[in-house]
């Protein structure tokens, strides 16, 4: 099928596609590739590199190796009867996903697809196309979420150590804001330290907030010109308009798959620009949000889920040097709306919202671990990354770090200033 290619595709890639590469790919491989190419303008630099690497790699293979690489996938497609399916090769649809998932060969198919990506990644490592750099994942469970000191870190299963914190210096905007923006104006901030000299993309540093304090602090910092860096800023509450409009559209979906796909199609095309706050108006960010909301996982329902899923997707897609995430308080489900109706319970039930600090803390504990586990799935974060999860209510941080990280377990509370210096040294 002819497709309109974005104008700024690298020439090598245009050449490969022009030579008929896409038509040679297995049917079930095509929706991903087509979709990535059609969304090229909205991809992060890491994704562009990844797609380019994959396609140039398979295009470089002699026919026998090309056939060998895709043979398991082609055989599975035959067994699955893919050619008899109503299967879109141009985009990833719900119908596609459903057809694949209910095949008895689905798990084998997933593995076969993964094997192709693994081969491409191995080739990149061998050819030095992948660059190692130090990274930081910084997570915060605010003071108003009561974490149980006795069990706070049990889910981390001893992969790091507990460090007491001295939070006395942190001001009203919170520990994480102080850590990120509390630097004296003269010295470079933690955000600046995370900026790579060869990559000034906002996708290199992400701040994701289940509330809005942290994002407001970041915007104030930018406005005061204390920082020259421009991280990606996502605040759940600041995205209310975007999310609620999306949520309204999604709730019109019926069970009918065709209808679901048509609604998804509409949601993929709807103009979201009027719904975006200024910090989320860049094309790649507003499309990131669109994809995030479309992929579920509670991102339109709960701020903490938005943070976890947003962070996981940012790690997967952008591979940032610095990712910071802060959790927040959610309300208890309202009577008779509860688990049945999540969409804007305030609209459905006039009873006042009741905070759920204990439940929110439990959610945050699990989801903070999930962000780190999401990072660990990628080579970039497996060796040279420090993860710090702070629980303000117990003045502790859980630190997972490689041996070369200078901060070691210390029974004396660590000040935020000292922590910031250690982290800047690490990133620098």
């Amino acid at each position: 099928m002819e497709m309109n290619l974005p104008g700024d595709l690298p020439p090598q890639l245009q050449q490969a596609i022009g030579s008929g590469l896409l038509q040679r790919l297995p049917v079930t491989f095509q929706p991903f590739v087509h979709q990535q190419l059609s969304e090229w303008d909205f991809l992060f630099p890491n994704e562009r590199r990844s797609v380019q690497r994959l396609l140039l790699y398979v295009n470089s293979l002699p026919p026998t190796q090309f056939n060998a690489l895709f043979a398991p996938l082609l055989q599975l497609e035959d067994k699955m009867g893919v050619r008899t399916w109503q299967f879109s090769t141009t985009e990833q649809t719900i119908l596609n996903a459903s057809l694949l998932a209910r095949s008895p060969y689905y798990q084998q198919w997933r593995q076969a697809v993964q094997n192709v990506f693994d081969a491409s990644d191995a080739y990149a490592l061998k050819t030095g196309a992948s660059v190692a750099r130090r990274r930081l994942v910084l997570l915060n469970i605010p003071a108003y979420l009561p974490v149980d000191k006795a069990t706070a870190w049990t889910r981390w299963q001893g992969i790091g150590f507990v460090q007491p914190l001295d939070l006395s210096a942190a001001h009203a905007s919170g520990t994480l804001a102080f850590l990120l923006f509390g630097e004296k104006a003269a010295s470079p901030s933690l955000l600046q330290a995370a900026q790579q000299p060869d990559d000034h993309s906002p996708a290199q540093a992400w701040i994701i907030d289940a509330g809005d304090n942290l994002i407001r602090a970041a915007l104030q910092d930018q406005a005061a010109a204390h920082s020259t860096s421009t991280p990606t800023l996502l605040g759940y509450k600041r995205l209310d308009t975007y999310r609620q409009n999306f949520s309204n559209e999604m709730n019109t979906m019926r069970r009918d798959l065709v209808d679901a796909d048509s609604v998804y199609d509409r949601l993929r095309k709807v103009d979201v620009r009027p719904w975006c706050p200024p910090e989320a108006s860049a094309p790649s960010i507003r499309e990131f949000l669109r994809a995030l909301y479309l992929s579920g996982n509670g991102a339109v329902i709960f701020g903490n889920s938005f943070v976890e899923w947003g962070a996981s997707e940012a790690l997967r897609r952008a591979r940032p040097s610095l990712l910071t995430a802060q959790f927040d308080l959610r309300s208890k489900p309202k009577p008779f709306t509860g688990v049945a109706v999540f969409d804007n319970p305030d609209k459905v039930n006039p009873l006042p919202s009741v905070d759920d600090p204990q439940g929110s803390a439990l959610d945050a504990q699990m989801l903070s671990l999930y962000i780190w586990l999401a990072a660990l799935r990628f080579t970039e974060y497996q060796h040279d990354t420090v993860c710090i999860c702070m629980a303000e209510s117990i003045a502790e941080a859980y630190i997972v770090a490689p041996p070369q990280f200078s901060l070691q377990r210390n029974p004396r509370p660590l000040s935020i200033d000292t922590l910031r210096q250690q982290l800047k040294t690490w990133l620098a």
């Binding site: 209910r102 329902i301 006039p350």
Partner: protein, 415 residues
């Protein structure tokens, strides 16, 4: 022995946490007395013979006279249920009830780990691979159809009451040419009624109603009356556009109980009240209940997922309480409780507990607990069983003729 080693399921205190608890039958035979004492069954007389005796006194209705209730509880992992940490979420199932049960710690879903296919696999004894969203019926006969056709049972004798929104009324009967909808079950989705009531109140500007229990009752009844009930996705007594009056009364009683019980108000609570009313009014021989509060996990709230587990633990105990108090069920009923599947492991690319589509043990390896008339002695059976083994086992208890299916009868059940 370590009770939480990877292939062992921690056993609640009601059963001895010793090798005997995991044993094989011959060993259990040798130690039966100790086992039963430890399980509390020899205290105040033997309950099991008493249950059997009552069973014999009850009049037989259709087939063997045996009744079966299958409770499916959505997707829950071992980590949050039958693990050292998870037992705290199951105070009822691992409390006194456990001492009376037949427990299979390894009950496997080897099919599609999505709701419609998982449930229809349990109900048909074959791994179903139909549309996940319930557009298509299972391809082989359900337990409902086998029971109704074989034993000439009426439709009121087979019911499914389900919270899960991913199901449709297609779950009640297969597309098998020799069976099909004319032998199907009544299917009701109570939570759908709740959703419709909320939607109607919202649409008509009556959201204030949702803050007042009496008005919530009115809203629910209005949703039941005002719309073509098929809009709810139900299929009851083949009625085209009107609910059977017997059913209407049952539903109204359930709504009243739900709204005025001063307790929690989740979808599963309403499903429980409907189930109990259906048991009282129709006493079906084959009843399947699907709870789904645990599916709050899809939205990423671990706390709400755990709350869902605790809710379903309590509701299962309440269903068993109803079985024991209801003369139509007491002593002649077998209750099975099992998850549809687990959930994905922490750190999986599918976002861990949020979802249930990874091909991992965490998603496939679950458990099953059986109580009641077909359990002639409590035991823990370490041998892995499969979801498809339940249908032939239950069909055997009900007195149905064997139908060819992938599952096999479990020898531990006795009619």
């Amino acid at each position: 022995m370590e009770s939480d080693s990877p292939d062992r399921t921690p056993i609640p205190a009601a059963l001895p946490c010793t090798e005997k608890a995991f044993v094989t039958e011959p060993e259990l035979d040798r130690s039966k007395r100790d086992f039963l004492r430890a399980a509390g069954l020899l205290v105040a007389g033997s309950l099991l013979p008493q249950l059997k005796a009552q069973s014999q006194q009850e009049p037989l209705t259709v087939g063997s006279g045996h009744k079966v209730i299958v409770v499916l509880i959505g997707g829950v992992r071992r980590a949050e249920t039958f693990s050292r940490e998870g037992l705290a979420n199951l105070p009822h199932l691992t409390g006194p009830l456990f001492g009376h049960c037949l427990f299979y710690p390894h009950t496997r879903n080897e099919g599609v780990t999505a709701h419609f296919n998982a449930i229809s696999s349990v109900l048909t004894g074959n791994w179903q691979r139909v549309d996940d969203w319930g557009k298509l019926a299972p391809t082989t006969p359900t337990l409902f159809e086998q029971f109704r056709k074989d034993l000439r049972a009426g439709r009121s004798d087979t019911w499914m009451v389900a919270s899960n929104k991913a199901l449709t009324s297609q779950i009640g009967a297969s597309s098998s040419p020799h069976f099909g909808p004319k032998y199907g079950a009544n299917v009701v989705f109570p939570k759908q009624l709740m959703l419709m009531a909320v939607e109607e109140a919202l649409r008509d500007g009556r959201t204030a109603s949702m803050a007042d229990r009496a008005r919530v009752q009115t809203e629910l009844q209005s949703a039941l009356e005002g719309s073509n009930y098929e809009g709810l996705g139900w299929n009851v007594f083949d009625a085209s556009d009107q609910l059977d009056p017997r059913v209407r009364g049952t539903i109204e009683s359930a709504i009243a109980g739900f709204v005025h019980n001063d307790g929690p108000t989740s979808g599963d609570e309403l499903t429980f009240f409907m189930t109990r009313e259906i048991m009282r009014k129709f006493a079906p021989s084959v009843l399947t209940v699907v709870f789904s509060d645990v599916e709050a996990a899809h939205f990423g709230s671990y706390a709400m997922h755990l709350a869902g587990i605790r809710t379903v633990d309590r509701l299962c105990a309440q269903i068993w309480q109803e079985v024991e108090q209801n003369p139509s069920y007491r002593g002649q009923t077998t209750l099975l409780i099992l998850p549809e599947f687990g959930r994905d492991p922490d750190g999986s690319s599918t976002n861990g507990f949020f979802n249930h589509r990874a091909n991992e043990e965490s998603t496939r390896d679950t458990w099953m607990l059986a109580l009641g008339a077909a359990v002639d002695r409590p035991q823990v059976v370490e041998r892995p069983i499969r979801h498809v083994d339940l249908c032939p086992t239950l069909a055997g208890l009900l007195g149905c003729k064997p139908v060819e299916m992938q599952g096999v009868r479990l020898p531990e059940f006795h009619a």
